[in-house]
Each structure stands twice: as C-alpha cells, then as structure tokens.
Symmetry: C2
Subunit: 491 residues, 2 copies
C-alpha cells in the first residue's frame, strides 16, 4: 500500500511505534521521555476530553485546578503513597539561573536553592487533601466532587509514545464523602463511567474488576479498574478508580462535624484516565494499513477526494460537492473536502487510510455524469458505488455501523482470548502460544502472585466483578481458592 508500515504479524511493537509517528499522532521531543502530541493526535484527545468531561459533569462533578508542585514533605504524609511515588519523580531544587562566569551560557544559581524541594506532581492526592482540609468542616460541605484536567510527571526509565511517558496528560477526580458506603459507590460509579466511555465511544470492550493488593494504587484501600485486550494478546489497564478509605483524610487531618456534631474523618476516592487511552485506541482497532478510528472520536469522519484532470473538472466537482459538504455538516458530521492540487488522489487515499478516516468518498468525471460517489469504509476497506441522493443516509449508516463493527470485532477477539486454565503448565504454554487473559484459581497470596510474575511476566490484571464464586485450587500452589482471577501479560 506504499505506507512502509511494518506488519503487525512481523513486529507488533514496531508497527505501533511507526504508526503513531506516521499517522501524525505524536513524536518524541528533545526532552527525555516527554512526547509532543501533534495536532491530529491532540484532536482525538480533545474529542475524548469533551465526552469524558460531559460524563463527569452529568454525574455531578465540577472542574478545578490545583498546583503543579507538591512540597516534598506532603508526599511523606501517607506512608504507602510515598513508597509508590517517591521513586520516580522530577524534583525542583532551585528557582533561578544566572549567566555562567565563563560566558558559556546559563547555570543554576546556587544562591537560589529552595528551602524545601518541590516535586512535580505524579498525582495530586496530597496537595488536594491539604486543600480539602480548608474546604470541609461540616457534613453540609460534603460531598466534594471535583475533577482536574492536568499534566503529571512520573520519571519512567523506559518510555513509549502514549503508553508510558515521563509527562502525560490526564484527568484526576478527587472526591470527599461523609460515609464509607457513599465513597465506595462513587468509586464504582466512576469505573462504570470509564467502562461506558471505553466501550461506547472508543469501541474498546473492557473487563471491570478490582486489583489484587500488590497492583493497588499506593494509598488505596481498593482499586477498581477497566482492563482491555490489545491485538497482540497483551492487556492494557485503561482506567482506575480508587476507594481511598480515610487514609488521606487521616494523613492531612480532614474531619467534618456530622449531624450530631461529632468530628469524623472524611472518606475519599480518586480516579483517572490519561493519554494512555490513545495507545489503547490505536492498538485495539488499527491494522496494517494504518489507524482505524471509531467514528465518534474521529477528528475527520468523512473525507471527499476529487479525481480530476484540469481546473474545469475540479471546478465542476467542487460545485457538485459543496451542497453535500454543507448537508453533512448540518447533521453534525465532520467532513473534509481535500481539493489540494499538490497531491495526487492515490496519495490522498493512502494518507486518509493511514489516518483512519472512517468514510472516504471519491468522485471523478464519470461519477459526476452518473450522479454517484465511490464510498469506502475504513474498517473493512469495502467500496461501493452510491447514488447522490442516497449518499447522506448511507454515510450516516456507515458511521454508525463502523462504530458497532469495530467494537464487535474487538469483543470477539477478546472473548476468544479469555482462556480458562487449571494447570500451571497449560497456563505457561498458552500464555506464550495464544496470549490473552487467563482465568485461573489463585490462592490469594502475594507470594504466589510474585512467583508467577517472576517466572512468566504475567500479572493478575483484575479480579473481575462478575466472577462467579467457585471453590478450586490455586494453579500454582495447589492451595484452596475461592474464585478465578484474570492473569495476562500487560502493557
């Protein structure tokens, strides 16, 4: 196809890296581990943001903004939290540069050393709970339902565009509640919002579950998650929602007076999704020809390519196409008419396939004569000739059908790749030969989890919420188990 894109079957990882760059989604920057999100990639992220933000507001949340920096001492207040995040953070130690005495440029001014170092937020629980202490006095102040859209930094050693970068964009919800039950209901609700978004907008089927203790967020009592499966059989955690108990309220002394006037610690949740979703989107649907985007998140839903010789033909086609463009826009469909004369139609076809535009129309002199369009759908690459008077309805049908089809396809793949295993030998063999999720009994200990991870690189992705209770024996230790959990190798 002339795209010079490595095939998925040859090297899935290389295919992904190439595709992200060739489709103009993102690229590496001059700063180690930090990416540049290019306009086309950012436009997809903006569409994700718009939908998520609407869903957050519909569930009663408001946006706010908290500082980028966290005083070092804040991080230490919650014991598990600091263990989880201190190891990978960017530390600001000075607040001024000065000219080097040898004229070689600028150097850090040693006199501008901060008394207390500041950490670039890896997540904002600490700075936010330090603030909530001022906001919350009485039960009347609860619940606090706040979300923040922000950048965060975690100093990762091995980075990959979107999947693992030192700086990434995300949203983080932080809520405060009067009761344990309400906080748990909130954490579960937000996992539900994420699952709804992943499935109905991204077209990515997800499994809802809770994390095992060792995979839990640092400082959480329970971590709810949604887990997706990529085309190479590896899982990807697409969003997490944490029930934090009273851990942060105790660390930052956030109490409220209940209706009886007694002081109680507040209950908390936090929940987030990030630009990592872009990686999940690319890896779930795309193929050897490039991106396949769900119509609901595609920046360009329909592209129209004129096929012509000379300016007269182009003018005739442009005149013919103008009312169609207008009609599509009035129906809320984003459409691009690409009449650039610097590129040939074949180049354009290639380009829009690479960029995953869901529906492509082509129109040449013969179509003009016949009153038809050549309509191609990106997901199946099928083409058809459609009459002018039927084309708008057909496009609406296709956008809807592509959205459904890519979800079904991903769901079928996922269903085919959940394998029930009862022996560790079978597990190890199928993990390598087939991949995907493995539903297996586990004795519930960290030791077994660690040993399996050490030997196979597979981790417990989640304990699915809909897991049937059922006694069994752990595939590794032979000890008793109460239910099956899902193992997989993961991003």
């Amino acid at each position: 196809m002339g795209k010079n894109l490595t095939k998925r079957s040859e090297d899935y990882s290389k295919w992904y890296n190439e595709l992200v760059i060739k489709a103009d989604l993102a690229e590496n920057s001059g700063v180690r581990g930090c990416m540049v999100i290019k306009p086309y990639g950012y436009a997809i992220w903006e569409k994700m943001q718009t939908e998520l933000d609407r869903m957050f507001k519909e569930t009663g949340h408001e946006n706010a903004y908290f500082p980028l920096f966290i005083p070092k001492s804040y991080l230490s207040r919650e014991a598990d939290h600091v263990e989880g995040f201190a190891k990978e953070c960017a530390v600001v130690t000075h607040y001024r540069l000065k000219n080097a005495e040898d004229g070689s440029g600028v150097v850090v001014d040693p006199e501008a050393k901060l008394e207390e170092e500041l950490i670039v937020r890896p997540t904002s629980e600490t700075i936010i709970w330090d603030t909530y202490r001022k906001w919350i006095q009485s039960y009347r102040d609860l619940p606090v339902l706040v979300n923040q859209w922000a950048n965060v930094v975690r100093w990762e050693m091995r980075t990959r565009l979107f999947l693992r970068t030192a700086e990434f964009l995300w949203q983080e919800g932080h809520t405060a509640h009067a009761t344990r039950e309400e906080a748990i209901a909130e954490a579960e609700q937000m996992m539900g919002v994420y699952a709804d978004f992943a499935e109905n907008f991204m077209g990515v089927p997800v499994i809802r579950g809770v994390k095992s203790e060792s995979e839990r967020f640092a400082g959480a009592v329970e971590t709810y998650c949604i887990e997706a499966l990529m085309q190479d059989g590896k899982a990807l955690q697409a969003g997490t929602s944490h029930f934090l108990g009273q851990n942060f309220a105790k660390a930052f002394d956030v109490k409220y007076a209940n209706k009886e006037g007694q002081q109680e610690y507040v209950w908390a949740t936090s929940w987030g999704v990030s630009t990592r979703l872009m990686g999940a989107l690319v890896m779930t649907h795309s193929d050897d020809n490039g991106l396949v985007l769900p119509p609901k998140l595609a920046p360009i839903q329909v592209v129209i390519v004129p096929i012509y010789k000379g300016e007269d033909q182009l003018d005739a086609i442009s005149d013919h196409v103008a009312p169609l463009v207008q009609e599509l826009r009035s129906r809320g469909i984003s459409v691009k008419y690409d009449n650039r004369d610097t590129q040939k139609p074949g180049w354009k076809f290639n380009e829009y396939e690479l960029k995953g535009v869901p529906v492509r129309l082509a129109i040449g002199p013969r179509d003009l004569e016949n009153g038809t369009y050549e309509v191609a759908r990106r997901d199946t690459m099928e083409k058809e000739i459609v009459k002018g008077e039927e084309v708008v309805d057909r496009i609406e049908f296709l956008l809807d059908d592509i959205q459904k089809n890519i979800y079904s396809k991903a769901l079928n793949y996922r269903e085919e790749h959940i394998t029930k295993v009862d022996s560790y030998e079978e597990f190890k063999e199928l993990l390598e030969s087939k991949g995907g999720f493995f539903s297996a009994h586990w004795d519930g200990t960290v030791e077994t989890e660690d040993a399996i991870k050490e030997e196979t690189k597979a981790t417990i992705r989640c304990i699915p919420l809909d897991a049937e209770e059922g006694e069994g024996v752990c595939m590794y230790s032979g000890k008793p188990s109460k239910r099956r959990v899902l193992f997989a190798k993961a991003y």
Copy 2:
C-alpha cells in the same frame, strides 16, 4: 449587605483580594505563589477557554501539546529570550527521592542528578521551535498554525491571586510563516481576536497598541498588546501577540525551501492570554457587593430563589417554577433553582450577589397567587415585578442589556480616564490625583522611559495603533516627538 467586603474606596487592593476568596474564585495553596482555582472560578475560566478556543479554530489554528520541561541549553539559544526568562524559573535537577537514613521522611537522591537541568516552561518558544525544525522543510509545510493550552511557571517574588502567580494557566499560540508580511498579519490578527474577546465577551474595553522596546517580549521584534483600565485607575495588560521575526528560526535553525528551491529562515509569531484575564474581569466590573459578571461568561446566568414557609409552599413554588427552568434551559440559558432548605432566602440573595449572578428571580406565595416574579439585575441592583408570561423574554432582554451596560460603563470610565498632558508636572500630579492613561509625547528613548518609571512608577503601556501622528516635544526631555504614547501605572 452583610458580606464583610472591604469597600473599593477604602482599599481597592484589599477589596480585590477579599472578593476573589469570598466569591470562591481562587485561594492560595501550600505551595508558595501557586494558587488553587476553585470550581466557581474555574467554571468562568472554562467559559473563557471555550470562546477563545472557538475563535482560534475559526482563524485556522489547531491545538497540540509540547513538553512541560525545557532543557537548560535550549533557553540560551536566543540571547534576549534567556535574559528575560532565566531569572525567574523553576529548575528540575534530580529525578528521584529516597528514604532518609534517619527515617525522617524522604530526601533527594544525590545519585539521581540530571546531566542537564530541566526548566519548567515559563513559555514554550524554545521547545516548540526545536520541534518545528522537524516539521518544516518546504513552503508546502507552511504556515504552521498551532496553539497550546498549558500551565507555565515564572518564579515571581510577589504574587497575587490571578494577577501574578508562580504557576498560571494560559494558551500560547506559535505560528510559522513563509514571509515577514504574513507573520505580521498573523500577529495583528491575534491581537484583534483578543480585543474582540475582551470587549464582546468579557465586556472589557481595551486599547490596541504596540509596546515600546523595553516592554517588549524577550525575543520579539514587535509586541502587540491590548491594555485595559481597572477601576482604581491602573492599567492591566490583558493579552500580547508577538512578531518574532526570524529570531527563533535562526536560533533553532528552522529553514524551508521556497518555491524556487532556495533555503530561507521561517518567520514566527507567538501570542497568549492567561488566567490573569480573571483578575481583569473581576477588577473591571465588580462592586462593593461582590462580583459583577458578564452574562456571556457567567457560569450561572439566572438564579431562582423560592421564598416559602413549610414544605407545601415550597412544593407549590417548585411545581410552578419547573416549566420556567426547562424553558430557559431550552433557550441555552444556564439557570439554577436554589431550593436548599439549609439556608434562608436573605443568605442566598447575598451569596448570589457576591458571586455575580447576572439575574436573580425570587418567588414567594404572593407572587404565586399573582403569577409574578421579582426580578433583580446584578449590575444596577434594580428590582422589578414581572408577569409570568413575560418573564422569559424579560430575562433574555436583561442578559443582553447587562452585557452591554457593563461594557458601556467600563468604556465611559476608560474614556474619562485618558488624559492628554503636555507637561511633566501636570502628568505627575494627575497620575496621583486622577489616575488612568496619560497621552503624552515621548522622545522615543529608553533613558527617558526609565527615568519616568523610576520617578513615578508609570510605564509606557503602549503606542496606540490609532494614535494620530503629530509632532510635539517630549514631556520629560523636551526633545522632539512624533506621536503621543500612553503612560499609566500598571498591574
């Protein structure tokens, strides 16, 4: 009014600080100079963002995202730029913390020292132009019209909520062009977009002009600006748009092949507005009773307060009001029906005055009987009784009228506070007694500008674009001058 708000006439500065906090716009955080933007303040900023983002896209710009960090060496590439920004930046020197040996918490791990320090972006010209080198090869790649919504950090010693904070939120546009003329046209266009936004959405009249050399952005050839006037007679720079010439293209070696195949340096602009606009909004319109918000940016445009005794009356009012709320929403008006039983009507009246809700409706049992509402407008505090069947139209009229009225009021104030002066004595006297802008002749030298600033604290805010040419003599030096410029004390 029970708001415990300092009067503007007593202490304007204190009034501002109190109002920002009491109206729940923002507060100081535990991190020096960094603010927390609270949900109500953030909702106003979101409305600003939505309108500006629409205007940027309508003028052909796309959003993207560039790294938070800038390698120290990048900053040094453009000589003026580093002079302007090196003095006030947050410097990341390490990438890990570790447990203190004495168990007292965490300390910076000395082994995790970065080879090259990273600067938290004070503005992104350098990292962006380092990226544009990869994006631009040919005239076909131009123009590049990109905007970024981001947080930036400038280590200010004296900070004030919204007006001057170490971290602030902003947008920064960065464009690349084939010709000098096109870049200048872009810089002027974006100043126009900012002026349009300030006047037609914020209701803040602005003067368009260019900065004198010493007030120019570090690295710019020309800085266009919009200048507003606050109620205390001090000016506030509300937005800037810079023509950067080829300075950054040369510093980062960004060339393109023109149509003749010759290599040329690219021409650049950058332009930005920030959360500082929130300060301008508050200080332009608000009064001793609290915020006055322009209806186009008010998170709540209409509030309805029921006045009742007992649940039966409340239910009757709620039933009566429900279709009105629905009708207003269907017309795109944001409305809040405040039926909380934890607060009295008087408390609510106070609260919504403080928060600047443009239109307030009150309805009690007698109104219910008569089919009327008491309608109050926030800008003039006028009240009237309006019949139920006329209330929707009246609200639409009021929202429109308040938007116009607060603009006119601010414009009148501004016009009354542009004073033409020809002697330095008169200037100094009126600067203290009257304030505002002073239109005066200036000899065009930095020396004179510095001397006036030193002696009076007034600076040249801008050389207005519509300034009439007219020979004169500098009010300070007596040397010849070609046109008047605007002096003022400024935020």
